[in-house]
Symmetry: C2
């Protein structure tokens, strides 16, 4: 997605240790037009896939998942990381190690919002090691639903997440922007030359 | 907003202790059309107000704030409740007691995404005691920005939040649905008769 790639080139910051700061686009501030474009871009990439529901994880997955839900006109459910007081009844529960916060992250989805036989598209902000996406995929399988695709806003291709997902699931994986290297202070977006910050 | 009121009547559950479960609409599952309607409804209610930016709080404020940002074509910033590893530089920090989770909640906004002189509309999912909205309003003031309005998806009119906000700020407050009573097992939406669940 060209507009996103250009914004990452202009505004992304390599904080070292494989941490990409895109707070101005995804993780703190949201640009409505860019976000709507992400939703349309995911919808176009999965246009031939039957999709009943989108699953994401709070917090930063909500915005791109919602915009994709709007583009495809299907409901979105976001996995909670803490049990809210309003969550009752059976839940699907998985854990994943957190990449940017440390520790283990819980992922909880009420059984009432993920049904057997549904075709589920997972959308999230980042694909790095794939641990969160693998946990979401396990929730889809636990529900007896079908994982039909995985869409991520930004993939870091050098952390192995795509291979980890492909080793377990057949679903196609689409990234709107792929970071192929974060050596030194640079950020290399696929097809791009290393950029000195 | 009639469509929202009808969905709350149909799907809202009174869990007791003033806790309204609307997980199927706002806090866990999102209905894209309903959510887009919320954004358009907020945009219509604040149509005569100059707005440069929308401020909300993660987690459940993100979806209605983003849809309002799309309807108004202005950027959205969501206050973080934990400092992400990507957050650097000066931040505006306030605390608010959490209504549904207990304890104190931090609210963090990077100074780079909230500027002096901006006209800021606060959007959130609930107005109950107003503690979260008051903390967001304090952040707006700390930034030297102007609080020009407050929009909430659901107001519980019996918890005093509107009066607490009006005691400190002149900004107009709009609620898309107002719950006027949650006696026993019932939920009374403004203009509605008590509903037995």
């Amino acid at each position: 997605m060209q507009a996103l790639i250009e914004r990452i080139r202009a505004e992304g910051i390599n904080l070292g240790g494989g941490i990409l700061k895109v707070d101005s686009l995804i993780n703190h501030q949201l640009d409505p037009r860019l976000m709507a474009g992400m939703g349309e871009s995911f919808a176009a990439r999965f246009a031939d896939t039957p999709i009943d529901r989108i699953l994401t994880a709070e917090i930063s997955g909500i915005a791109p998942a919602l915009m994709t839900g709007i583009a495809l006109d299907v409901p979105v459910v976001y996995a909670r990381k803490k049990k809210p007081i309003t969550m009752s009844g059976p839940v699907f529960l998985e854990t994943a190690p957190s990449h940017t916060k440390g520790g283990e992250t819980l992922l909880l989805v009420s059984a009432e919002f993920l049904r057997a036989g549904e075709n589920v598209l997972i959308i999230d902000d980042f694909l790095a090691t794939g641990k969160t996406l693998l946990a979401l995929a396990r929730i889809v399988v636990s529900a007896g639903a079908n994982l039909v695709g995985v869409g991520v806003v930004v993939e870091k291709t050098f952390e192995g997440g795509r291979a980890a997902l492909q080793a377990k699931y057949d679903a196609p994986i689409h990234a709107l922007a792929s970071i192929t290297s974060m050596e030194g202070d640079t950020i290399t977006v696929r097809g791009d030359q290393p950029r000195l910050l």
